[in-house]
């Protein structure tokens, strides 16, 4: 279990100080995939670096399995880091080592014998589906393959935790999906707790159990992904789930209603019923729904007709129905 308590980080520089994190409290349970989402500059990269103390927090505590990381000696910290692996947006493979030697690297530095290290590395390469690339160099691989090598390397020391810092942000959508699937498999089969840092809601959506939304250096909201996704409470969560700059929303003139699908009404054709019963057309501006365990979650934004009478009729219909909705500005 990773517990962050009142974590703050202030960067001091000649041009003044920047508060990167303010009073962050988070608990990440063993075995879960925990997402941390935020816009760039929100502090999420600093937050994840505070977990393995690549950044030392200015105040607050990082407690991993009951052990206060900030209290460890340097030697103990280096040892502890072997159980907290990390993968990166830029992959960060050693360019002058081949794939096998890259995966061996963490074993090599912890003093594992070469033969044993190579055997383990081959097993891990098999796991990520790259055993035939063992003698290739990073420059000869695609982005997705590089990240797979990085994942194999991260798993070499049998870590309990895996920190993913924008690990899919440099990849195309298909590759992103396959890397996320790999991470989920690792989580399920090896029991590795995964912490995912991203600015993309779809990443959170695809693999995370719980999510924390970070904005302006502090946690804006936190909860199960399905809850945050269907009913975002903070402005930043709404913005991330539903980007403000969507052209369709800007050009729309009439009143806008957000319909929220929280798993209850997925079987009923709500929009059709509403339109048919009210005899009024609506304009669908945005829809994003997702299936979780057989029920539909998500939300849709519709624009009401400019005719006041028709619009009121729809509002009345919605009020009488069991649909969760609210008016958007």
């Amino acid at each position: 279990m990773i517990e962050l308590k009142k974590l703050s980080k202030i960067f001091e520089s000649a041009s003044g100080s920047v508060e990167a994190l303010r009073d962050v409290d988070l608990t990440i349970n063993d075995g879960e995939i925990f997402g941390i989402i935020g816009l760039s500059g929100a502090g999420k990269s600093t937050l994840v670096r505070c977990i393995n103390l690549l950044e030392r927090p200015s105040s607050g505590k990082v407690i991993i399995d009951g052990q206060d990381m900030t209290a460890l000696s340097r030697r103990e910290l280096l040892k502890m880091r072997r159980s907290i692996s990390m993968i990166f947006q830029g992959f960060n493979l050693l360019e002058q080592r081949n794939v096998l030697k890259n995966v061996c690297f963490p074993l090599e530095i912890s003093g594992v014998k070469k033969q044993e290290a190579e055997r383990k590395a081959m097993d891990l390469l098999k796991l990520v589906g790259l055993e035939e690339k063992a003698d290739k160099y990073p420059a000869q691989l695609s982005g997705g393959q590089k990240q797979r090598v990085a994942i194999a390397r991260a798993l070499a020391t049998d870590p309990k935790y895996l920190l993913c810092d924008e690990a899919t942000s440099a990849l195309d959508p298909n590759t992103t999906r396959s890397i996320l699937e790999l991470l989920r498999t690792i989580n399920q089969t090896m029991g590795v707790t995964i912490i995912v840092i991203t600015h993309e809601m779809k990443v959170i959506d695809q693999i995370c159990d719980r999510v924390a939304v970070i904005d302006h250096s502090s946690i804006a909201e936190e909860g199960r992904v399905s809850e945050v996704f269907t009913n975002p409470r903070s402005d930043i969560a709404r913005e991330l789930i539903l980007p403000k700059d969507r052209a369709a929303l800007d050009t729309a003139g009439g009143r806008r209603i957000r319909l929220i699908f929280n798993g209850l009404y997925s079987q009923a054709p709500i929009i059709s019923q509403m339109v048919l019963e009210c005899q009024a057309p609506v304009n669908i501006l945005f829809a994003d729904t997702k299936e979780y365990e057989g029920s539909i979650y998500g939300h849709m934004i519709v624009e009401l007709p400019s005719d006041q009478r028709q619009a009121d009729k729809i509002i009345a219909w919605l009020s009488n129905s069991e649909v969760v909705w609210k008016e958007e500005n």
């Binding site: 690549l54 907290i84 990390m86 990166f88 493979l93 360019e95 080592r97 530095i109």
Partner: protein, 225 residues
């Protein structure tokens, strides 16, 4: 076509000897310059503000020493450092003394070359190594130096050519090699053909160093495929 002096010098093997001595001094001086310059470059990189162990005072002191020696023209440095050669070798004469000067002159240069090669290593790779629990020593020996290898080799080629140039200058304080042949026979006895032969041979040596060095650097570099 050539002056009589040229044939005399050539038949006595002075020019051939000059080539051998130039190469010999350059290689020995390069070796020792790296022996001192490489660790200095590593320390400069590691103790830098953005290094893996920022230590401003070490960086500033070493940086000052390096800049101090780098800013003295080599021909003046040589004269000024004669007592140092006498202290180390017991004599300020001969090629031994010249090599001491070359090393004093070139080590700071090498230090800066090494420092800049190490700076090219992607900070993300270093961060990844830190996240795996590497000690700083492991980062230097297993990440910084191996990752910078092609650039270090290129730097060594440039340093070697510079040292070769210095070795020619050392003729003024009694160093041997092509520089000496050019000064004594070409310049002092006004035989331009001898000077030009020395120039051509020097150019040839530099070309060979450059071509071989670049080839090794390219073959070592696993990023280009």
């Amino acid at each position: 076509m050539f002056s009589d002096m040229f044939y005399k010098v050539w038949d006595n093997g002075l020019i051939q000897m000059g080539v051998v001595e130039t190469i010999y001094m350059t290689l020995i001086a390069t070796f020792f310059s790296y022996l001192f310059g490489l660790p200095m470059g590593v320390v400069l990189n590691v103790t830098d503000q953005n290094g893996i162990r920022p230590t401003p005072w070490v960086n500033r002191v070493l940086g000052f020493v390096v800049n101090f020696f780098r800013s003295i023209p080599f021909i003046i440095l040589m004269v000024a450092m004669l007592p140092v050669a006498r202290f180390i070798l017991g004599t300020s004469l001969g090629n031994g003394a010249v090599i001491v000067m070359l090393v004093i002159g070139a080590s700071p240069y090498v230090a800066r070359m090494v420092e800049s090669s190490l700076k090219e290593v992607d900070s993300g790779i270093i961060e990844a190594a830190q996240s795996m629990g590497c000690t700083n020593f492991q980062i230097v020996s297993k990440v910084l130096l191996p990752e910078a290898k092609p650039s270090l080799i290129n730097g060594a080629v440039i340093s070697m050519v510079t040292i070769l140039g210095y070795s020619a200058m050392s003729a003024t304080i009694g160093g041997t090699g092509l520089g000496q042949v050019a000064i004594i026979y070409g310049h002092q006895r006004s035989k331009p053909d001898i000077t030009w032969i020395c120039v051509l041979l020097t150019v040839a040596i530099v070309q060979i160093i450059q071509i071989v060095g670049t080839h090794i650097a390219r073959r070592t570099d696993k990023r280009v495929k």
